[in-house]
Symmetry: C2
């Protein structure tokens, strides 16, 4: 059996062909995301046909990992980064064009499944996946199964409130986890510390306080610049606030840390794990929750989508 | 078949005998909770034997709903309101004394199951139960099953942080949901508003700002006192903050509102439901989550424990 998995973000559409049980794509294609439902379907069809050409074999099913609120009927409800595509019956349209079984999930949910089956979550029936990128994406495996929720909308934990009178996020909400604990959040914190004169090396590197971005933090951390570890530690505390909420609600065995910020490496991971352990009440009476780094990198969403497609037809 | 269900709180031990499928106890007994593991076992055994005497028939299993962190082995890890009982192998000890199958769960988890099977959650495979009492107790039914988590500790959402730099709660944590949105939280809010001169009727009724308690709020609300509805609306907003977090994480079909504060009636329920709908992002693209009042009242924990006991032997 062969399946195709997609990861459709605000900028790119990526497709991979996989044999079930493997995480090594037999072929990979990319295209630009266009903010129109019918054009998006066309792109998915083109990439699928291209991949089938590449491998010279038919495929059995297609999985779509969408940076969007996908309902359990396969309708794209809305996607903050793909404006213009709203309440669009994506799965029915792709099925109609391809004549293949198609499944769609939120991209973080698909990545969660990839890490659970083939990555850092192997062997754990209760896992939370937390991807720190521009925002925060999350997904949960509970009792060995991907948790989708009543309508398919579970795993939107980037929106949980950790500071109810806090600053307004781009979503309009006040003080969500994502405001503080995402890549954007790290940039905000770094610029604040820089403005307060606490990380002069960052200002020098970036040229100005306003120019500071995550990559400057990463560079200086790798160079061992004093002060940057303290910044990461402060940031990690906010990551741990939301993770503790997930622990209280779900009681996972393990938390898998993914997204672009894992490039900050062991310093970030360890500070998050320690902050989490400090926050959890009754820590003396419960096991410490390990925070481990995701293994599948930026293709996790596409790999998970391909795995979900394989389950659809097996 | 007959089973006994217990609800063991910091003050009282309550036991009921039930026939599966019924929520009408055939017998009820109460005793005082003593903060000692062996004495607690003795109390449970005495109440059980008393109930068997009352009905003149043997029972098939016993369920214990504990105001405690219970692990999946039946060990009482710790209980904030039953000091002195820590890491105590409660289920093995009760099994040894009774010679019957015994299951134990957190009390809110047991109440959740009662509401799901026999109460306000009937027909809903994805349900969140939120009990507003002295603190906040929660439990979740996901995909039709009680969610216990990796260690049996799921459903401790009263501890989730909604104001990370907020006031310190009795647990030591800063700004947890429970600080703001429990019965205690309502008292704190009411006294603050009273001190600011916003609810003079409350001060008159209680005698002083410091003497204001939840029951005064309830009395004046029932009397239609102006200003009290605004107080409830403000309180409901904080209840909705944590509920929105649960919606983002779990995507429930319905939220069942329980605990002593449901005595505040429709005013509280409606304000919570409206505030929740206002908070949820992308509300135009997803169904409104109904907030409905629990049906089984203060015996939900014991009824749920009896139901779990019945499942143990069926």
């Amino acid at each position: 059996m062969l399946t195709i998995g997609f990861d459709v973000g605000g900028t790119n559409v990526r497709g991979v062909v996989l044999r079930p049980g493997s995480t090594e794509p037999l072929a990979i294609r990319r295209a630009r995301t266009r903010p129109d439902g019918d054009v998006l379907v066309e792109t998915i069809v083109d990439v699928t046909n291209g991949l089938i050409d590449d491998i010279g074999e038919p495929v059995d099913a297609v999985g779509l990992g969408m940076a969007a609120l996908m309902d359990s009927e396969g309708t794209l409800r809305y996607a903050p980064n793909i404006p213009g595509v709203v309440n669009y019956p994506l799965v029915p349209k792709v099925v109609e064009r391809l004549g293949l079984p198609v499944v769609a999930e939120n991209d973080a949910t698909a990545a969660t499944w990839a890490e659970a089956k083939y990555g850092a979550g192997i062997g754990h029936d209760h896992m939370a996946f937390v991807a720190l990128g521009t925002g925060i994406g999350t997904g949960f495996v509970l009792d060995g199964k991907l948790h989708r929720g009543a309508h398919g909308y579970a795993g939107e934990a980037g929106h949980i409130t950790i500071q109810r009178d806090g600053p307004q996020h781009i979503t309009g909400a006040s003080g969500p986890w994502e405001y503080f604990a995402s890549g954007n959040g790290l940039g905000i914190l770094a610029r604040r510390w820089a403005a307060e004169g606490r990380v002069d090396a960052l200002v020098e590197r970036a040229g100005s306080v306003a120019a500071i971005r995550g990559e400057h933090v990463n560079e200086l951390l790798n160079e061992g610049e004093p002060g940057i570890e303290a910044l990461i530690a402060r940031f990690a505390r906010d990551v741990a606030v939301g993770m503790a909420d997930l622990v209280y609600v779900l009681d996972p065995e393990i938390i898998v840390l993914g997204g672009g910020l894992v490039d900050l490496g062991e310093c970030l991971r360890k500070n998050i794990e320690d902050s989490l352990a400090e926050r959890i009440l009754g820590a003396a009476y419960r096991p410490r929750v390990p925070v481990v780094t995701a293994k599948l990198g930026s293709y996790a969403g596409a790999i998970g989508s391909a795995a979900l497609a394989a389950e659809l037809v097996s």
